[in-house]
């Protein structure tokens, strides 16, 4: 764990989940600081997505705690964590397919601003919601497609919409799970550019699961390595990439006793 002058934005303490006898995430303790982009790497089945699910609340922890800004959020529902500033994007495109691009974004804006319970006045009365949503569409260059349904978008644009949805939530903590998965190479830079832009805001904490080494090199301030559900390595990119343990894991030799 790296020491930081400022209070960590997010802490996992001893975080564990078991599925029957299988321990998918095993006692992972880690702190994430504002202004830091941490890339989480590890072979398939290492527990990266499961670790994400424990932080954002899709799965209940068997043991351990999740702290956001010092507050214990381990037992909170995903929606409550989202309202506390944890924004989570998913590995597979996870949108509202029959709704328009604008509606998708507006949903995130209105969730944050607490307008979800307004049931009597038409949407058009809440001009500020639409204006804010349009702002994020501009940021992500999706304005021209605002009135298409999310399902009708090309895959690359769907990934961008996923990022836009997250930005519209205005979280303190961004969690991206392979944001470039399934994208053609010429589309990848768009999404990475967006993430790089988010990184400039030093109050934000970004967690990123990614396989592509080019992406890791370009963005990471810090890398943590998960293997068989355990935290294997944690440190600056160069250091971690050079480490013997990590090389063994990635080259397929046994890393069991290394942990």
């Amino acid at each position: 764990m790296r020491a930081s002058a400022s209070e960590p934005a997010l802490v996992t303490e001893n975080l564990t989940i078991r599925f029957g006898g299988h321990v998918a995430v095993n006692a992972v303790s880690c702190a994430f600081n504002p202004g830091e982009l941490t890339v989480i790497v590890g072979p398939n089945g290492a527990g990266k997505t499961t670790y994400f699910n424990l932080i954002s609340g899709q799965l209940p922890a068997s043991e351990g705690r999740v702290l956001k800004g010092g507050e214990d959020i381990t037992r909170l529902a995903p929606s409550a964590r989202a309202r506390r500033g944890i924004g989570r994007a998913f590995q597979l495109t996870n949108l509202f397919p029959a709704l328009t691009v604008l509606e998708n974004i507006r949903l995130a804006v209105q969730a944050r601003s607490g307008h979800g319970w307004r049931f009597f006045s038409p949407v058009s009365r809440f001009a500020s919601l639409t204006e804010e949503a349009e702002h994020y569409l501009e940021e992500t260059k999706l304005s021209a497609k605002a009135h298409m349904t999310a399902a009708a978008l090309p895959h690359g644009d769907q990934r961008k919409l996923e990022v836009a949805l997250l930005m519209a939530m205005e979280p303190d903590i961004y969690m991206f799970d392979e944001p470039t998965a399934g994208m053609s190479l010429d589309h990848t830079p768009d999404v990475l550019e967006l993430i790089a832009k988010l990184k400039q805001d030093k109050s934000k904490t970004i967690l990123l699961v990614e396989h592509k080494m080019s992406v890791v090199r370009a963005l990471a301030d810090r890398i943590i390595v998960l293997h068989n559900g355990e935290l294997l390595a944690d440190g600056p990119p160069d250091e971690v990439m050079q480490s013997q343990v990590v090389r063994e894991v990635y080259l397929g030799s046994s890393g069991e006793d290394a942990a």
Binding site: F96, L99, A111, G116, F119, S121, V123, L129, H147, M148
Partner: protein, 359 residues
């Protein structure tokens, strides 16, 4: 695709059709001057509200419930019991409707909170069980509900057929375009206006920010939760709103019919009618409720007559008159449904809505 949301031709057609139906219902007592037609018109009004509120659940939020008729029944029995016990007065109507409403809300919250967390199929089963219990209770507690026979009572004086809203020079009931201005007319407009208000409330709800949240829950429940919406709370809320609307529709129907029994207010055959109406009209369209209700109610009342005419006309032709024998009307109703579902897979409003849209 342009920035402006221009309605495609299909959408304009559906809106036009719904407005036309609204106008026909508004002038129904003057356009169709017989008791049976007025009965049909009132039934259509009630079912539009019932189906629209059900569409909030099944079409907008993706909740499958079989208890919708139960909430209708609570409202109907509430008004019926109050009118029976307290005599025909507005106080009885209000108290009965309020009683039905309270029961509906309590049961809806209980069912919602206990079971909206579980998988959709289990929720559907729980609503089925709850509605069955309500039906059994209504027929068993005969001292209270009249059992299988139901309850007959009088409506408030204003709605009595003998009541003259206006009198002419001779002291007889005045007529407007040949229509008697009596209590029956007042009763119809009571049904029409209250149903119109309820339907407009449903329309406003789906156009509101909450409406978008409901659609989001239908589309992708986990994602809605992940961006900050408490899905269980929203589901329970819309379940209550639908229950309240159905309950009010039940009370209005009870006042109109002056009779409430299991067959008019609780039976599962009505629940199936509601399902058919929402499917035929188009789920998640709201306008579909109007189209579905009109089609099904009219078919139920007039298909038999129409077939009688057809059978007569084909007299002498071999086999065909047999086929169009009025008693076989249910067979034909079934065939019509199958064809409608085949040609309009998203319901009439849902399928036509996007016609003529360019993307």
């Amino acid at each position: 695709m342009t920035q402006t949301t221009k309605s495609p031709k299909g959408a304009l057609f559906i809106k036009g059709l719904v407005l036309t139906i609204g106008a026909l219902l508004l002038f129904a007592p003057f356009l169709f001057q017989d008791t049976r037609s007025l009965e049909v018109a009132a039934r259509i009004c009630i079912f539009i509200v019932l189906v629209a509120s059900y569409d909030l659940l099944i079409g907008y939020t993706g909740i499958v419930s079989f208890a919708h008729i139960m909430f209708f029944g609570f409202g109907a029995y509430g008004a019926a019991i109050a009118l029976k016990e307290m005599g025909p007065g507005w106080d009885a109507v209000l108290l009965g409707a309020a009683g039905g409403l309270v029961v509906s809300i309590v049961v809806a919250i209980a069912v919602g909170l206990l079971s909206l967390r579980v998988k959709a199929i289990f929720f559907a089963m729980i609503t089925l069980a709850t509605a069955s219990v309500a039906l059994v209770l209504a027929s068993q507690l005969s001292g209270f509900t009249g059992g299988e026979d139901g309850i007959t009572y009088k409506a408030p004086d204003l709605f009595k057929t003998a009541n003259k809203l206006m009198v002419d020079a001779d002291g007889k009931v005045a007529r407007l375009f040949g229509v008697k201005l009596n209590g029956k007319l007042a009763a119809y407009y009571f049904v029409f206006s209250t149903c119109l208000v309820l339907f407009i409330l449903c329309l406003r709800m789906v156009a509101s920010p909450l409406g978008t949240v409901l659609k989001a829950i239908r589309e992708n429940e986990a994602r809605a939760e992940a961006i900050g919406y408490r899905v269980v709370a929203y589901r329970t809320f819309v379940f209550c709103i639908a229950a309240v609307t159905a309950s009010l529709a039940g009370s209005i129907y009870a006042v109109w019919l002056k009779y409430t029994g299991p067959d008019t207010a609780l039976s599962f055959s009505i629940m199936i009618d509601i399902l058919l109406m929402v499917v035929i009209g188009g789920m998640g369209t709201m306008y579909g409720a109007v189209i579905g209700a009109v089609l099904l109610v009219i078919a139920q009342y007039y298909l038999r007559d129409l077939m009688g005419v057809a059978s007569e006309a084909l007299h002498g032709v071999p086999f065909l008159p047999e086929l169009f024998e009025p008693d076989r009307w249910l067979l034909w109703l079934g065939i019509i449904f199958i064809l409608l579902v085949y040609f309009f897979p998203k319901g009439i409003a849902g399928t036509l809505w996007d016609k003529g849209a360019r993307s």
